[in-house]
Structure formats: structure tokens, C-alpha cells
């Protein structure tokens, strides 16, 4: 009997560690049922930043419905992209336990 899966959006965000808590608050507020965070390092198009002092980058992942994904990407674009070191990308995934998201 094949496992029943459901298609959802996975959003991956890599951001300077100092805004991680704010990002997570926003993500949950916009309708995500959870998130997963890992410590990361990296280099991008921006130069130095304060995060070096507060820890490295944070990589935040959240599995959400497409409409929630849209809202989160909008929020990132309007509130974080300009002043903070942050990238985000999204793609489709098949989840088990689809009702929990």
C-alpha cells in the first residue's frame, strides 16, 4: 500500500543570524505550522555584517501551503531584502502527514 503524500511548498531562507528570531516570528504569524533551523556559514554579494558577532548565518526551512508561501516571500521582499543579508528560494515537495501543515 503506497504512502499517501501531499504536495506542499518548501521555503528555504538563509539570513544573518541576528534576524533569525524575527523571521521565525513572521513565518509562524503568516501561517506556517512550524520551522526547522540550522546553523550555517556563507558568502554572498553583501560584505561584512554584525551577525559575525551573534553567530553565523541561520538557515530556516518551512513546509507550507502555497498561499502561505506566497505571503512569506512577500514579507521577505518588503521587509528584509533591502537592509539585511538574506536569500530565499522555494520548490515543491511531497510530504507525508500532509494534514499537519
Amino acid at each position: 500500500m503506497p504512502v499517501k503524500t501531499q504536495t506542499m511548498k518548501r521555503i528555504s531562507i538563509v539570513a544573518e543570524a541576528i534576524i533569525a528570531e524575527r523571521l521565525i516570528d513572521d513565518i509562524i504569524r503568516l501561517g506556517a505550522s512550524g520551522y526547522t533551523q540550522t546553523a550555517a556559514e556563507g558568502r554572498g554579494s553583501r560584505g561584512v555584517r554584525a551577525s559575525e558577532w551573534e553567530g553565523r548565518n541561520a538557515k530556516i526551512e518551512t513546509i507550507v501551503r502555497p498561499d502561505v508561501a506566497e505571503k512569506i516571500l512577500e514579507r521577505l521582499t518588503s521587509h528584509y531584502l533591502k537592509n539585511f543579508a538574506v536569500i530565499a528560494y522555494t520548490h515543491d515537495v511531497e510530504v507525508i502527514r500532509g494534514d499537519k501543515y
Binding site: 544573518e16 541576528i18 534576524i19 524575527r22 546553523a39 560584505g47 561584512v48 555584517r49 554584525a50 551577525s51 559575525e52 558577532w53 551573534e54 553567530g55 553565523r56 533591502k82 537592509n83 539585511f84
Partner: protein, 329 residues
Amino acid sequence: MRQGRLSMSALELIQINLFSPVILCFFLGIIATLVKSDLRFPEPLYQALSIYLLLAIGMKGGFAIRASTESGILLALVSGIILSALIPLWAYPILRFMGRFNKADAAAVAAHYGSVSVVTFLAATTFLSAIGVHYEGFFPALVAVMEIPGIIVALLLIGRSREEPTPWFESFYTVLSGKSVFLLIGGLAVGYVSGEQGMTKVEPFLIAPFHGVLCLFLLEMGMLASRRFGDLKRVGKFIITFGVLMPIANAIIGILVGSLIGLSQGGAFILGTLASSASYIAAPATIRLAVPEASPALYLTSSLAITFPFNLTIGIPLYFTIARWLIPA
């Protein structure tokens, strides 16, 4: 020892400072980066050392306050707060009009010089103990209170001009509950309340090895500072000059204030060093969130890659020479 110190030349003072293990380890860290060594401190080690140092400073200070019969702590605290609050008020216009910085950048840099650097404080006390000069035991309390006002005043300076400003009291709370101030004040309280019996028990962990742990920490600080040397070209000559002259001016002001409120020679020297130092922990974290449009390259490079090494190597013996000149032992 006491007499020896009075006759030491400035050169001898510089040498005593530079040849202490703590400062040598700082240089070692700089060299590690320059020769591209693969030496890295894992992040948790850096954090563990910070937690240890801050808690230990606090506890030692709390116990010193309890044990001491020195008066004048209140006057010193109030002076320290006022001093920290005033520094951004004169740093800001200099940055804005001589350095042609925009409002955000000027306020951000000013905030860092208004706040203080814990490690610079420790290097100053290490120096005093190497030359055998006494200082008041309540200074850890002063470090804690002087971290905050400069940041708040700088934020007030730009507050009005921004679209979505973080209210100043929110930032005040952020610094106050931030780990560095929290550990300092918490340590002070623990040290004060537990008193001598308590301190005897924790002494072998929190006091005796302190100096050695500081060596390790400065090895890492040397690596962190020198990783920013590459930005020096990018940020321009003005900020480099500022990063050297501003601390000297603030040190002199601090020493004068210390002398006015009756601190000892060593005490006035430390107050001067605190005033001269620029924060690189509490301030960057607060400013990054409260003034995100300001460029970290400017404020971190000036505080960490210019003022911090300058104070550690030349500043400390220089300020002591000034204090010795102004205040009799």
C-alpha cells in the same frame, strides 16, 4: 614595585604592556590570519569563553563591592553614565559634518564609541596589576552601566528621521537583557550576595584561571580583528583617523572626570580607558537591528579593527602616562 612604577618611562610602560601574555596572544591571533593558518576557534568555544569572562568579572566585582570600604561608587556610576551619554553627542556631528556620513551611519558609529569594550577594560586591569597599581574594586559595575547609555542616545539622535523607528526603550531593554550586560549584572549580584564564603569556593575556577582564559580569548580576538583589516581600504581615511583620535580625546576626558570625582590614579586611568573604548558586542547587535540601514562595515571596522588594537597596544600605556601626569599616586 610601587616606587618602581613612578620612575618607569613611557617606553617601559609600552614594553610591559606589549610583552604581557594577553597582548602577545592578541598578536598571535593577528599573525594566524595573516599567514592563513587553518586555526579556527569553534563558535561554541568563543561563546563559552565570553560567558566565563563576563560572569567572572561580575562576580569578582560584586564581591569587591561587598568587601570594600571604598565610598564613591555612586558618584562613579553616575559619572560613568553621563560620560557614556555625552560621547555620542560630540562624536555624531564630527562624523556627520567632517566625515560626511549619512545620519544612520553617523549615529551607528557614535553609538559604538559611547558604549564600552569589556576586553579593553580587562587589558587595562591586567596592565595595572603588572605595574602594581591599585584601582577601585567597583569597576565591573561601571562597565555594566556604561555599555548602555551611549547606544540609547545615539538612537535618539536619528529616531525622528526614520520611517519605522525602533522605540528607544525597546533598544534599552534589548541591551539591558542582552547577554553581556545580563551576565555582568547577574554576576555582580551573585558575588555581592554570596560574599566571602561563596567566593572562596568558586575562586579556583572563576578567579585564578581568569588571566589565562583571557589569553585564549585574545587569541581569538586577534583573528577576528585582523579579518577586518581588509576593509580598512574600503572605509576610507577619515574613519581611520577618527578611530585613533576619538579614543584619545575620550580617554583624556575620562581621566579628567575620574580625577574630578576623586578616583585613584589607577581608577581614573581605567575610567579614561573605558571612555575611550568602543563596543564590539552589545552595540553592534543592537544597532544592526535598530538601524539596519547603517553599514556594519563602517562601525565594526572602526571599533574592532582600528580602535580596539590601538587601545590595546599604544592607548593603554599612553592613557596611563596621562593619568600619572595628572594625578599623584
